[in-house]
Amino acid sequence: MIRDFTYAFVVFAALALFPSLALAGEPQQTLQGSVDKAITLLRDPSYKDAAAKPAMREKLIATIQTIFDAKELSRRALATNWDKFSADQQERFSKAFLTLLQNTYLDRIEAYTDEKVNYLSEKLLAADKAEVATTVSSKGKDIPITYRMLKADGWKVYDVIIEGVSLVQNYRNQFTQILMKETPDALIDKLTKKS
């Protein structure tokens, strides 16, 4: 009886101390932490100056890097072609692809600096997979952005779906097309040039 009471008290205390635990799960919290950090950076007036832009970009990339799972993103974007890449090629590909993705993603969210990100829902797809739905309101329009996350060492993003379009799937189609005619090294070259 007393033990039950103690248990209830501990739960109550935990909820009181960390109210967000009760509202959002780990995946959303992890994501929110990174996205909020990125937005704070984007809004920081000390970076308004054009000369400070590269420094800001660097910090942004450092922030984004911790939340994107480069290997998982690359593996999914290459699909069955992934196994045809040597370990070294996989490594170089992941690096180049992540840089391109970061730039794409940052260009998108940079345009939304004055806008608010709403976290709509979090859905566990499996024990180690989750989907976090958000919207960004920009120019009076709500743009749905969904993040798919995987738990390896902490939750990390493996796909971003903007207005129903999965970025990974979009790249997968492009990579498939290119790899039909060209070698993995040629594809990595193209990626490096683009980013």
Binding site: R76, T104, Q169
Partner: protein
């Protein structure tokens, strides 16, 4: 305008034949199992996507992942030609669009867009009804009434401040998809850009349901003195008014893509499948 009764009945006929076509296409595709499936499930089956997109993504990692998603593109030669043509065309008129963006303030451009959208309310309303979605139909109707009455013919989108009156985008392509018609194949049209066989048929329906067509017609009927060309002028004006934003989006796509043609095709197909599944 003095559009004759004949004119209107031709359009109605066109609309009905479209619907008949939609039903026919559905019938051709349906197997016994699909016949008894609810329309939304049929649509999902036809687009090759399961209802849970995350699962579809996982399946895509399987053996036939290289072919996912199946986009039928038999006209790739034609499509690539017009893709390049459109690219040159829109790059060419970009300075014009930027000049327009500079000269006309954003609230005015948004206002023009709102007026056009408000005016073409029957397209979305009709399609919401055809998709048996009474909530969406009611929403469109509410938006139209509110914005027409108090929003200066729709210049101000007052309805948007109500979360239950958010703008929609139903069109005939989505309605055909709702009744189980697949995309058919991907096609790029000059000036209009990416589309599919289904959405092209849908476009004809959208034109028929557009009040501009009812008012002005699409061509001159038997020497009648009518302003048929206004249909084209107004819709071209609407497209031009939206151009500054669209060029931004297009350039973002081009910047992020290493194979822009494939990226654009996939964006279009994924986006439309998403709209229909909704």
């Amino acid at each position: 305008m003095n559009s004759p009764l004949l004119h209107r009945s031709i359009l109605l006929l066109l609309l009905f034949s479209l619907l008949a076509l939609a039903t026919a296409c559905n019938g051709k595709k349906s197997q016994a199992a699909k016949d008894f499936a609810p329309p939304s499930a049929t649509a999902a089956a036809n687009t090759g996507q399961t209802t849970d997109p995350a699962l579809a993504d996982d399946e895509a990692l399987g053996e036939d992942a290289a072919a996912q998603p199946v986009v039928n593109d038999p006209l790739m030669g034609w499509n690539r030609f017009w893709f390049t043509f459109n690219d040159y065309f829109y790059t060419g008129i970009k300075p014009l669009a930027l000049g327009y963006k500079y000269a006309v303030p954003e609230f005015a451009r948004t206002g023009f867009k709102n007026i056009y959208d408000n005016f073409t309310f029957p397209i979305r309303f009709l399609n919401a009804l055809l998709q048996l979605d009474l909530t969406k139909a009611a929403r469109e109707f509410g938006r139209f009434m509110l914005n027409s009455s108090f929003g200066l013919c729709g210049f101000f989108d007052l309805a948007k401040s109500d979360p239950n009156l958010q703008p929609g985008d139903e069109d005939f392509g989505q309605t055909l998809g709702y009744y189980g018609m697949g995309e058919g194949f991907y096609i790029v049209w000059p000036f209009l850009g990416p589309s599919s066989a289904r959405d092209t048929v849908g476009l004809v329906g959208d034109v028929a349901a557009n009040p501009l067509t009812w008012m002005f017609g699409l061509w001159n009927y038997e020497g009648q003195d009518q302003l048929w060309y206004l249909s084209y002028v107004v819709s071209a004006g609407n497209r031009f008014n939206r151009l500054p934003d669209q060029i931004d989006n297009y350039e973002a796509m081009k910047k992020s893509a290493i194979e822009p043609y494939v990226s654009m095709r996939d964006f279009y197909i994924q986006y439309r499948r998403g709209r229909i599944a909704e």
